[in-house]
Amino acid sequence: MTTTTTAPRDTVGGGPREGSRPNRRPVRPARILLYVVLTLVALGWLAPLLLAVYASLRPYAETAKYGYMSLPHHLSLRYYSQAWSQGGMGKYFLNTLIITAPALVLTLFFASFIAFALARFRVPGRKTLLILFTAGNLLPPQVMVTPLYTLYNKIPLPYWLSDSGTVYDSYLGVIAIHVAFQTGFCVFVLYNYMQTIPSELTEAAVVDGAGVWRQYWRVILPLSRPALGALATLEFTWIYNDFLWALVFMSTGDKLPITSALNNLRGEFFTDYNLLAAGSMLVALPTLIVFFALQRQFVSGLTLGANKG
């Protein structure tokens, strides 16, 4: 079963495979039409993004005079370096890393363990737990803001964990709510995924005397890599792009992650849209890179575990 998932038939990556299936009728004109349609739609899809990139390469004075749809007179990467240094973006990217990396690792760790436990053992209240996590992820996040703020403000933290002395205005608070909120979705996906891993594998480990931890760490986790890879891509995008939690639970401007900080840069750069375009593209870059890097695992792992044949 697992092999079907990890090494599915190779549609991703394409390549000319015509004829490998005996009963495919070669319909050339239809194929060409298909490519034309796909290419046109893809160009339409890319257009807004290309417009922003194009704007970011041109001086503002030029676009203000001729409009954004004009031919370029000057093209340069000057705005990118300016946005980076003037906006102090390095600092904010570091903050994003401080929040995103632990949140991502903890979410996947907790979610995979819970999924493993629920899929393998008779944990009391198994269904309740499933509902608790899955439904929790579907609640509107704004509902939680006020009580969470009050709670965070009341929990003291030692100085080395939070220079504010409370969970409010600390990285920990933002990480905690990300983990709590995102675990639900991951539990659901991983639980379904792990259902498809044959139980003989863990049974064999038990016969060898493996405890719960070893079954999880040595058997289940390696087998869940495709699903974990897909989830990592998705969750990275979500946590990276979040701005609500940082906005309401952070009061120190210098501790904000880049997504929230970009909102601030809008004020600072408003006189020059093209500079803002460059800043926006820089912010979009990490999520694009992560997606491209993990794309293969992403699509093959994202079967949501619900459709294993």
Binding site: Q86, Y149, N153, S164, G165, T166, Y168, D169, L247, V248, S251, T252, G253, D254, S260, N263, N264, G267, E268, F270, T271
Partner: protein, 445 residues
């Protein structure tokens, strides 16, 4: 969510603010020095906060001056304080919009000792919630502030909670060179204005540059027409929730505005004020109701001297042009400040001419509030702004500073936007505002 104009920290008019070293500016330097000398005394007066220079004490400051030039201006003020007192200032700058959205969480959470805020009801609201420290003792030692400024810094309980830094006027701004070339005269009355609008429209320009995408700029026009039509007292009383919005007086304001709307730039709800201000600079629009500091940002370099203003024309002769809208920005001390004494010592400095001079040395877009501040390098435009405020019989702040913040952002922003979309249904609009106002202001009791 409301962004009032003052929340967009202002940029200066760089070219005309560039200074030549004159006897006056040297004097100003002396004034900073004198301010510096005064500080240790102030600190000593405040007791245990430790006054001697070289002491490694720090005081913290939460700033919403996030735009480049105001940020530098505040940095200059804090550097001057640090130099004179030996107390180092740790500044936490937050984006001005986020700062406002978070203010109640900020003040109840882990605020800095001193924070930047706005005068008027907006200050009183947080003082009344017990989130600010009474600084009447600091005020006892301040000089150079008018009674009006003191009143604007006073909470509902009669104590002071606020120290002003600068203000700036709202009026009708235009390019004199364009008006001269076209032969347009500054309108004195509403009839003049209407006639002028027709002339301007026939010349192919928009009479009023207009933008309200962010929701607050249109409040400025409402304030002007209301104060000219019904006077300052009615305006403030209306803002305080003590008048009915279905009052025919209010309807008159919207009717007047509706008669002028055809001469305003179309599509205001999709435009940010920066683009509207640019259209005056680009000679596409003839004038704009806005704050001096905001529009000055669009008039840089050689355009800087080609910017003038006039008070909104007279509508009801009983009230003339008595009232001036001039929002004040300044500082407060948080109730949860960790070091109240250090905070008060800093407030004392912030209320001194030395602090205002330090700020003005970087950001010339605003008018210092302390009469002791050096104004010798003012351009004619800045002087005119200053005189306009000084000559006011009454000074309003701005709608979102004179009323409850939730009323301004949750009721007035959507209502003014829907008025701009559909100026014909004034009765329905006012009925809706009135119902919501009654609900929100009922919470006060």
């Amino acid at each position: 969510m409301t962004q009032s104009p003052p929340d967009q920290p202002l940029r200066p008019v760089p070219s005309n603010v560039s200074r030549t070293v004159s006897r006056r500016s040297m004097l100003r330097g002396t004034a900073i020095g004198a301010g510096a000398l005064a500080i240790p005394g102030a600190l000593a007066a405040c007791g245990k906060s430790g006054g001697s220079s070289g002491n490694s004490k720090t005081v913290t400051f939460g700033s919403n001056y996030s735009d480049a030039i105001p940020k530098k201006g505040i940095a200059a003020v804090m550097a001057a304080y640090q130099k004179s007192s030996g107390v180092s200032v740790k500044t936490n700058t937050q984006d001005h919009n986020s700062f406002q959205e978070n203010i109640s969480r900020y003040l109840q959470g882990n605020p800095e000792d001193v924070f930047s805020w706005f005068a008027g009801n907006r200050m009183k609201f947080f003082a009344a919630q017990g989130l600010a420290t009474d600084i009447s003792d600091v005020w006892a030692g301040l000089t150079g502030f008018s009674d009006a400024l003191k009143k604007a810094s006073t909470g509902e309980d009669g104590k002071q909670y606020f120290v002003p830094l600068y203000n700036y006027p709202w009026a009708v701004f235009y390019r004199p060179s364009v008006w001269q070339a076209k032969g347009w005269q500054v309108p004195k009355t509403l009839d003049d204005l209407t006639a002028l609008c027709k002339t301007i429209k026939s010349s192919g320009m928009d009479a009023f540059a207009f933008a309200d995408k962010d929701g607050w700029p249109a409040m400025g026009t409402f304030d002007q027409i209301n104060m000219r039509t019904n006077g300052y007292d009615f305006h403030i009383s209306l803002m305080a929730g003590k008048e009915s919005w279905t009052d025919p007086k209010v309807k008159q304001v919207f009717s007047t505005w509706a008669s002028l709307l055809p001469y305003h730039q179309q599509g205001a709800n999709g435009r940010i004020w920066q683009d509207a201000a640019n259209s005056v600079q680009q000679k596409k629009s003839a004038m704009m109701v806005i704050g001096s500091g905001q529009i000055a940002q669009s008039f840089q370099g050689s355009d800087a001297t080609d910017l003038d203003f006039f008070p909104y024309p007279v509508i009801n002769p009983d009230f003339g042009q008595d009232a001036v809208e001039a929002p004040i920005d300044g500082f407060m001390v948080a109730k949860k400040a960790k070091d109240i004494d250090a905070a008060k010592a800093l407030m004392k400095f912030l209320g001194s001419p030395a602090a205002e001079n330090a700020y003005q040395s970087v950001d010339g877009g605003n008018i210092p509030t302390n009469s002791g501040a050096d104004t010798s390098n003012f351009t004619p435009f800045q002087k005119k702004c200053q005189e306009y405020i000084a000559g006011a019989k009454q000074i309003s702040q701005f709608m979102d500073r004179d009323t409850r913040p939730d009323f301004a952002s949750q009721v007035m922003i959507p209502s003014l936007q829907s008025f701009i979309n559909k100026p014909s249904d004034i009765d329905g609009l006012l009925k809706s505002i009135d119902a919501q106002a009654k609900s929100i202001f009922a919470q006060d009791n």
